[in-house]
């Protein structure tokens, strides 16, 4: 039986077709899910923000009017900047308190003390718990009268310190920041620990032999070589801080009580977008504009921070 050149060409084309169909089969379902439930909505959010909305019905094209309302309208923009201020406060505080402590824990664990494994598990435990659970749990603990925190303070005699933590504008936000730090310190701690473990032993041992103190070693060798992990944690902490929603929602409510001292961009967004479904106002557009602004803030920061921090990574080798 003689195979003609034509048969051969046909077989080749057939094979190419089979490959195309197979790849399409593999890629189509995941791509469809991604497009339908992520890319399309995201693109729409951008789209919606430049229109006026009547409840769920889209109205006229109004350009950047929604954005103006959020940023410049005196009735609204107080809320925006107040929430923004709070988000920034959260970010900075968490960087210092949460990630600072995490760094110390990581440095200590890197020396492989007895029980290091158990410590790792213990520190990571709150990370896996739902924010809702943590929020409710601490809300109960912080109850001025029945909560364990104040009961403890009373027991050891610090009665003046037994404040209504979540009820005072001055203490509400700091309290929540501490709760967040308690819950999440394990995550950066483990990431930092892994980064430290990647540093070649010889470098550290050589420095020890050269007579460097622990502090010096940490400052001059470990810290610079951890740069990539630091970059990631900084960016993730920022994104997390600007996405704060569940914790304040549970512990303080949708309005950021008391007195909007715990209002966050996330809460503001939710109120703007959905607080009005029942009211039937025209907030979808404004809400979308707010969403775009928040997205831009996160996006810009991530890019700038990554650029700056990555340059540092490269320097440090």
């Amino acid at each position: 039986m003689h195979i003609t050149d034509r048969d051969y060409q046909r077989a080749k084309i057939f094979r190419k077709l089979k490959k195309f169909l197979w790849l399409s089969f593999l890629l189509f379902p995941p791509a469809l899910i991604l497009i339908t439930f992520i890319f399309l909505p995201m693109a729409s959010a951008l789209w919606y923000s430049v229109y006026e909305w009547n409840g769920l019905i889209r109205g006229e094209f109004i350009g950047l009017d929604n954005f103006r309302k959020v940023l410049l309208d005196p009735e609204r923009n107080w809320f925006f900047f107040n929430a923004l201020k709070n988000n920034i406060l959260v970010f900075v505080s968490l960087m210092v308190i949460q990630n600072g402590t995490a760094l110390i824990i990581a440095l200590f664990l890197a020396r492989e003390p007895k029980g290091a494994r158990i410590y790792q598990v213990v520190f990571f435990l709150p990370v896996i718990l739902s924010t809702v659970i943590i929020g409710f749990q601490w809300k109960m603990f912080l109850n001025p009268v029945f909560g364990l925190v104040n009961k403890l303070l009373n027991t050891i005699g610090l009665n003046e310190w037994a404040l209504p933590w979540l009820g005072l504008p001055e203490t509400a936000l700091p309290t929540m920041i501490l709760v967040n730090a308690w819950a999440w310190v394990g995550f950066p701690a483990i990431v930092f620990l892994a980064a430290i473990h990647r540093i070649p032993r010889d470098l550290i041992e050589a420095a020890r032999l050269d007579g460097g103190s622990e502090w010096q070693i940490a400052k001059d060798i470990i810290w610079p070589l951890m740069a990539p992990a630091v970059t990631i944690i900084v960016v993730l902490t920022f994104i997390g801080s600007f996405n704060w929603f569940e914790l304040p929602y549970i512990m303080a409510g949708l309005e950021g009580s008391p007195a909007y001292s715990t209002d966050m961009l996330g809460l503001l967004f939710y109120r703007t977008a959905f607080g009005s479904i029942s009211a039937g106002g025209t907030e979808f557009g404004v809400g979308s504009a707010l969403a775009v602004i928040i997205f831009l803030l996160i996006f810009l920061f991530s890019i700038i921070a990554t650029k700056i921090l990555t340059a540092r990574e490269v320097e440090m080798g």
Partner: protein, 280 residues
């Protein structure tokens, strides 16, 4: 510094470190411990003697939760949603990762960037169009809507993790299977995928935890009480039992239980899984 002195300094340092770590660990565990403990106390007991052990291991609160509240129902919903999402996620994620990792074709780069870019997009901010879209698809107040959203959210990271692992398998395995006559589908199912089972577990855990704990999407998309998931249901549960601290603590404990159990058993995998994204 003489050898002995140096050892003493080191010993002192180590001791201090232990003290610090132990104190910190206590600080981490104590609240959780108290939460669980208080679940076994009656409400008056909690108020009277908050720090002591319960008089007896009172399971009344837990029984209330089991029999009288909707918490079991919420639990079940969470299980359905999380499990279904993970299955759908791992199947579609593996398919995409396989195409990217094992084949060269025009646009491999574009496709992998396509999936990766999903990582950067904070889907929560597109909640409005998502709401409208789900309404259009009839998936509001429906667990299926949640499943699709969670799958979509977790796909980029999953594809990323799985692609890395699939790439590391030697090409000769594929070639050998081709010579054995296996079709591409068979090669994928019989040979390549079984060899990355640890990666599937890691990707599964990495995605399962945020899905199980999520509160935001059910809050918006689920209105009927029978479809509420655990995290969301706790809110209404708290509303109902706002002064019955005993029951409340029991509820929180019960809700934490699955995660804590799995975590303690699989802690190594768990930690690896959850930090997989950050560590790349």
């Amino acid at each position: 510094m003489s050898g002995i002195e140096k050892t003493n300094t080191v010993r002192l340092e180590n001791a201090l470190i232990q003290i610090f770590l132990a104190t910190a660990a206590l600080f981490m565990l104590y609240p959780i411990f108290m939460m669980v403990l208080s679940g076994f106390k009656t409400t008056p007991e909690i108020f009277m003697s908050p720090f002591s052990f319960p008089e007896r291991l009172n399971t009344e609160n837990f029984q209330v939760i089991w029999n009288k509240t909707d918490v079991p129902r919420y639990f079940l919903n969470s299980v359905i949603v999380t499990l279904s999402s993970i299955i759908l996620l791992l199947v579609t994620g593996t398919m995409a990762a396989y195409a990217i990792a094992r084949y060269k074709f025009r646009g491999t780069l574009m496709v992998s960037l396509f999936f990766l870019s999903g990582l950067m997009l904070p889907i929560r901010l597109a909640i409005i169009p998502l709401f409208i879209q789900l309404k259009y698809l009839g998936l509001i107040d429906n667990l299926l809507g949640l499943i699709f959203i969670y799958t979509a959210m977790s796909l980029p990271a999953t594809v990323f993790i799985l692609t890395g692992f699939l790439r590391s398998l030697p090409k000769e395995l594929e070639d050998s299977a081709r010579m054995d006559g296996a079709s591409e589908l068979r090669i994928m199912i019989d040979i390549m995928v079984p060899l990355i089972s640890p990666a599937l577990v890691i990707a599964g855990i990495y995605s399962a935890v945020p899905i199980w704990n999520d509160f935001f999407f059910p809050l918006i998309f689920i209105q009927s009480p029978e479809w509420k998931t655990l995290a969301q249901g706790l809110t209404s549960f708290f509303g109902e039992y706002s002064i019955n601290y005993g029951v409340l603590y029991a509820g929180l404990s019960l809700a934490s239980l699955p995660m804590i159990l799995i975590f303690i058993i699989q802690s190594r995998r768990f930690i690896a899984g959850m930090t997989a994204g950050a560590l790349k």
